[in-house]
């Protein structure tokens, strides 16, 4: 209701700020979570270095932490995430494995049952399908099934989702698969700060964590403050981050899509739409309160993800908002997701199968009634 008033007033040319001020007195504004982690003298750090330093520091701090996976040792990591760790910690703590995801996931779980803290690296999360029985049945459910006698402080990590030109069996996003399972925690970092803070939190956490990285983000640099670089730095699991505040539409995303959404937000800002960008960071547990608070502020929601649309993260977010903030919605929720096809290889086809910045911009406009809705049944 308030959202419609504001829109109508805006269209008539009244400056938005005046409208906002008057509306503020009318409605309760919930406290929005905002963080300013970047100091003015920000150092740049790639996500790769962020992950490497996080692993290094956690292994140094706790002798129970060890890394296991294919190519993690001698090869310095398939994506060089574990560079230098074999030299520093030796082959007992950086274990190169034979090719059997099921095998080394099971062995990692066994070590965790005993009390070690394994970090299991998969060359891509796609390969976790070989090990998914151990992840779900041996890790996620064990604490519950054993009535608390067998805890599993393990981290399963690797690059998730689409890379570039790697085809269907190397490009699927498994965020919704793992985040539907109770007993697991599922994290998806975007920036270097996310990568460092969340990986440290995951390693320290007594529950099994699936840590979804992104291959294309490994080489991207982000500013990091001194606080982030400190070895005790840690981010809370279950808290999303508002990357950019806005008033007109809430856009949620995780991992690489956060970058796309931020760019889309800039384009939208030029057209007078301020988008509030939420970086989910934690898929399970999902930060429903931050999302709902934001939607109650903006009254419109666009969810963005790279994975397949059916039963995706956007579906869960939409359901949560409909359940808790139905009367605040002024428009149907827009879901942007990857195409409902196995990922093709050809560059043009691949580009069409993955959300692009323009898709996000158009969806935000639709949510703000600035363009024609693309209803499936229209």
């Amino acid at each position: 209701m308030l959202g419609i008033i504001r829109q109508r007033v805006a269209r008539k040319g009244v400056p938005a700020s005046i409208v906002e001020q008057s509306l503020q007195r009318i409605r309760n504004r919930p406290v929005a979570y905002a963080s300013r982690c970047y100091s003015s003298t920000a150092k740049q750090m790639t996500v790769r270095d962020a992950l490497n330093s996080a692993l290094d520091e956690e292994m140094s701090a706790d002798p129970k932490v060890f890394l296991m996976g294919e190519e993690v040792g001698e090869y310095q990591g398939a994506y060089k995430i574990s560079k230098g760790l074999l030299d520093k910690y030796g082959p007992e703590r950086v274990v190169d494995t034979p090719i059997t995801e099921a095998g080394f996931a099971g062995i990692g779980v066994g070590a965790a049952y005993y009390g070690l803290k394994p970090v299991i690296e998969f060359m891509t999360i796609n390969f976790t399908l070989q090990a998914i029985d151990h992840i779900i049945n041996s890790a996620a459910k064990s604490n519950y099934m054993s009535a608390g006698q067998m805890s599993v402080p393990i981290v399963f990590r690797g690059p998730n989702g689409a890379a570039a030109g790697v085809g269907a069996q190397h490009s699927q996003c498994y965020a919704s698969w793992y985040s539907s399972c109770p007993g697991l925690k599922v994290l998806a970092p975007y920036s270097s700060e996310d990568a460092r803070g969340l990986l440290k939190a995951a390693i320290r956490d007594p529950d099994p964590v699936v840590f979804l990285e992104n291959e294309l983000l490994y080489g991207e640099s982000f500013p990091v403050s001194a606080e982030v670089l400190d070895s005790s730095f840690c981010l809370p699991i279950g808290k999303a981050k508002i990357e950019r505040e806005g008033k007109d539409v809430t856009i949620t995303a995780f991992s690489k899509m956060v970058g796309f959404v931020l760019k889309a937000a800039e384009i939208l800002a030029e057209e007078g739409i301020t988008a509030e960008v939420i970086n989910l960071r934690s898929i399970r547990p999902l930060d429903r309160s931050t999302i709902n608070a934001s939607v109650r502020k903006t009254n419109r929601l666009v969810t963005v993800e790279e994975g397949f649309p059916q039963h995706g993260i956007g579906a869960e977010i939409c359901a949560s908002v409909v359940e808790e903030s139905f009367e605040y919605l002024d428009a149907p929720v827009e879901r942007i997701a990857g195409a409902d096809v196995p990922m093709p290889y050809a560059a043009n086809l691949e580009r069409l199968a993955v959300p692009q910045i323009e898709d996000i911009v158009r969806a935000a406009k639709r949510a703000c009634y600035r363009s024609v809705p693309m209803a499936a049944t229209a």
Partner: protein, 480 residues
């Protein structure tokens, strides 16, 4: 890479000579290590870590060692007729000019180690460990207790008092004797037919009953089906329904034990069927590579539900597979308590002292049905079942041995059986009456700390039960 040679030796020699000769000229100056063919692989080269981290040039020279042989052409010529060796990553291999396939089935199957004959008398030349009276009597007591527990709980399921049960009939020796030869610090990763191991370690009959009834006193908090026992106190990891996953877990835990330098090993049990899984393969392979102190105990009881071993694999049982992975292995008579005891004790010493995995294949027979959901007379002859159950019963065989030592009597037998029977019936009666677990236990242990959404749901559930008691009938029990 195929290295079967069918050419005459002379042709090969000339071929190699020309290759080495030209390469010898190119590389003559670079490598100056005179390595002869008869030199065994240096010790430090066997350990991959020193191999790679210390000396990449050494690696390079190892790769081209066969070229260096150009220098030794003269000495080669002399020994050529005696030995021809291929320098392969992974070790030297002798050539042969005879094309011979390894047979798929051996002329003779691997022999089966046993100590006691069918009449419970020690066989001649048995190098078994001596067991004292106290241990032997406890072993027998526990075997009888296990047997009685199985029959009474099976009946309880048939009467509808518990939903499911699975017996160890025919495998009492495997259960008790293997447990007896281990220390309490050794970690057990069971499949599901090893309740006797937990019994030996001190899990009480009441505790078994509580788990089967899923009541409030169940240390598993009513989370699992019957027979899915687990006890951290007894170092017995909770039974899971997934087949053979415990094998990989055992290797991981063994690796952790090794890193901790503990005087303990892990022991994992699985059946003949479980060896077909990917987990078995990965775990054995890994254990050998990681040099993990784990004992793999295969209960080859001839049947995986209705699948006989002839449909399960075509190898000579499981013992030969251990060898294939580079794991020391032995085959034992699974109905001979003393043979199992000796083998486990020796395996344990090797596993911990030499930091290596060991495989024990115990040949036995699943004399009972797979579980209460199975009627095995449908797929195997009744007389076969009866023969194994009676003529090859491991309990009576061990009884004959302890009787012949003067450690047991008919009176003691009667006492034991009637006392255990009473205890079991009492345990069931008590377990049946105990309240079911509190509803809070639906929500605990999902995570280390219950998350906000589950706390909310619990509050909501309690309110709902209070508000709509008619939807929560009392015979179901919803203790708040």
């Amino acid at each position: 890479m195929a290295f079967c040679l069918t050419k005459a030796k002379k042709l090969i020699y000339n071929h190699l000579k020309s290759k080495m000769g030209s390469l010898g000229i190119i590389n003559h100056g670079n490598w100056t290590h005179p390595v002869s063919f008869s030199h065994p692989i240096p010790q430090n080269l066997k350990k991959p870590d020193t191999f790679f981290t210390n000396n990449t040039t050494l690696f390079a020279s190892r790769r081209f060692e066969s070229i260096i042989a150009g220098k030794h052409l003269d000495s080669l010529r002399n020994v050529f007729d005696e030995i021809e060796v291929l320098n392969f990553p992974g070790g030297k291999v002798k050539f042969t000019s005879e094309m011979k396939f390894l047979s798929e089935s051996p002329e003779e199957r691997i022999h089966c180690y046993r100590v006691l004959d069918d009449n419970g008398q020690p066989t001649v030349h048995s190098n078994s460990v001596q067991i004292g009276e106290e241990v032997a009597v406890k072993m027998y007591n526990d075997m009888v207790t296990l047997q009685l527990m199985d029959s009474i709980f099976y009946e309880a399921q048939r009467q509808g008092r518990i939903s499911f049960y699975l017996t160890t009939i025919g495998e009492e020796a495997i259960n008790i004797a293997s447990a007896a030869a281990l220390n309490i610090d050794d970690l057990i990763f069971p499949q599901y037919r090893e309740a006797g191991v937990l019994l030996w370690r001190g899990f009480s009959l009441q505790e078994f009953a509580n788990q089967c009834f899923g009541n409030r006193d169940d240390n598993g908090k009513g989370r699992q089906m019957p027979i899915h026992y687990g006890s951290k106190k007894h170092n017995y990891f909770t039974v899971a329904s997934t087949v053979a996953t415990q094998i990989s877990h055992a290797v991981g835990a063994a690796y952790a034990l090794k890193m901790d330098g503990r005087d303990a090993c892990t022991v994992t049990y699985f059946g003949d069927g479980g060896t077909s899984t990917g987990d078995f393969h990965a775990a054995l392979n890994f254990a050998a590579v990681m040099e993990a102190p784990v004992i793999f105990f295969c209960r080859n009881n001839g049947w995986a539900i209705s699948t006989p071993v002839s449909d399960q694999f075509r190898s000579d049982g499981i013992v030969v597979r251990g060898q294939a992975y580079g794991v020391r292995s032995i085959r034992v008579d699974g109905n001979d308590a003393l043979a199992i005891f000796s083998a486990i004790q020796a395996a344990r010493r090797m596993a911990i002292g030499e930091s290596r995995p060991v495989l024990i294949e115990a040949l036995t027979y699943r004399a009972g049905h797979h579980s209460t959901s199975d009627d095995s007379t449908k797929y195997r002859p009744v007389h076969e079942i009866e023969w194994w159950r009676v003529a090859r019963d491991p309990v009576s065989r061990f009884k004959k041995w302890i009787e012949s030592n003067g450690w047991w009597s008919d009176e003691a037998e009667f006492e034991l059986r009637s006392s255990v029977r009473k205890q079991l019936l009492h345990a069931i009666q008590v377990a049946e009456k105990v309240e079911k677990p509190a509803i809070a236990e639906i929500f605990t242990d999902v995570y280390d700390v219950p998350p906000a959404n589950l706390c909310e749901q619990e509050t909501l559930l309690r309110e709902t039960i209070k508000r709509h008691p008619q939807d929560y009938p009392s015979h179901f029990q919803f203790p708040l």
